[in-house]
Symmetry: C2
DNA sequence: CACCAATTGAGAAATGTATCACAATTGAAG
DNA sequence: CTTCAATTGTGATACATTTCTCAATTGGTG
């Protein structure tokens, strides 16, 4: 039973977006000591229907056993491979303000496939200071160092006004994926992926539903 | 020309989710000194089609002028009203670790309709310490204080293992909207809205598209 | 005042996504 | 060895969202 690995059908991006949550939930089930789960158990935990989970997984192969369900550790291996986090990606963090500090101190990324390699800031008062295990480096040296280290993934935690300029530097340095914490839209060339984190937008999305 | 304010059609949630980005972009246009914009200018800035922006706005009323476009400050007022951020919502923040500290020090929420009123933590070493302008309070007093202050919105910045317990407390205290920074799914009763922030999931969504 | 370029709002059509429903399979129980 | 309950994977269907298209409107120009 061959795994349809190089997907014939194009994978909807919305499906890709759910896979990290499947992986997260599976790891939590594994941590609880379970070995087997089912699409309905996953669905219950995630607030999705079992059919959706089965259909999503079916884009990538046949990972379950009829009558039995899914082997948790096997499915974890498959999802890590599919998401390409069966390795560690070196990441550059730009911005050493409060948010950058929280990111640098947060150790939850490693488990998910990411390791911060460099931290940059433009503030001369911060450059050469240490932050967690890192020494903050001058943003003037970003392009050179990031390119030399072949780093392809970045986290952007600078003020909105600086974000586009820094993004341009990252792209120039060869970065292909940017997690943008600044509340502004970035313009990047094709082939560069951006994901935006905007807590304020999430908040406003919720207040819409609250009665006055 | 009456504004269809109490929407006859139900509004798709995905449309609601885009409105905060429209508002954010409009404020940025206003800050640049512009007074008028068009659906295509907004679309260019946001990476969306002009048709989608017009259709989204049309769920709520007729805000533009044919041939001319949209009056920026008028549309800002309308969107703030629609999203119910034409006021300030008091927010409770739970968790005074690195992330909680970054949130408490971040002043960008106020402009978007939110003001932190209380900060809670369960760590006795942190309780009664100050954080930004706040005094960290014991989580044991959360239900009482949040209920008394009639706070309806929360930000949850505690470790994943504690998140569900804290969420239960928030719900008990009458909170109806929770921004969950913990990488775990929360179970809440109907009528309580949750938005999840999971940077690790965004990262994994991007690596899917990177070539090995 | 007639014409024109720009632009909206919205019905219709096209596309995308989620759910349904069920044959096929599995392992367990009798 | 047969039966059964559980569960997958997927084609068909239903539903949701986006895009297309264009009549209507606007303010500016000659």
């Amino acid at each position: 039973m061959p795994h349809k690995q190089p997907p014939g059908r194009p994978i909807p991006d919305i499906v890709v977006g759910r896979l990290p949550f499947y992986l997260r939930t599976l790891r939590s089930l594994a941590a609880e000591g379970l070995e087997i789960t089912s699409s309905s158990e996953l669905g219950d935990r995630l607030g999705l229907t079992s059919a959706q989970i089965r259909k999503d997984l079916s884009y990538f192969g046949e990972f379950g056993k009829q009558g039995l369900g899914y082997n948790i550790s096997f499915l974890i291996v498959q999802l890590r491979r599919i998401l390409k986090v069966d390795r560690i990606w070196e990441v550059v963090l730009v911005g050493a303000g409060d948010l950058g500090r929280a990111i640098a101190n947060y150790h939850g990324f490693h488990d998910r496939g990411f390791e911060i390699r460099f931290v940059f800031d433009s503030d001369p008062a911060k450059v050469r200071q240490s932050l967690s295990q890192y020494t903050i480096q001058d943003i003037a040296s970003l392009v050179e160092k990031v390119r030399a280290a072949k780093i392809r993934v970045a986290m952007l935690a600078v003020p909105a006004a600086a974000a586009q300029n820094v993004s341009d530097l990252l792209v120039e340095a060869g970065v292909q994926a940017i997690l943008n914490y600044a509340p502004t839209s970035l313009v990047v060339p094709k082939g560069v992926y951006v994901q935006n984190i905007d807590p304020g937008a999430h908040m406003q999305r919720m207040t819409f539903y609250l009665e006055a």
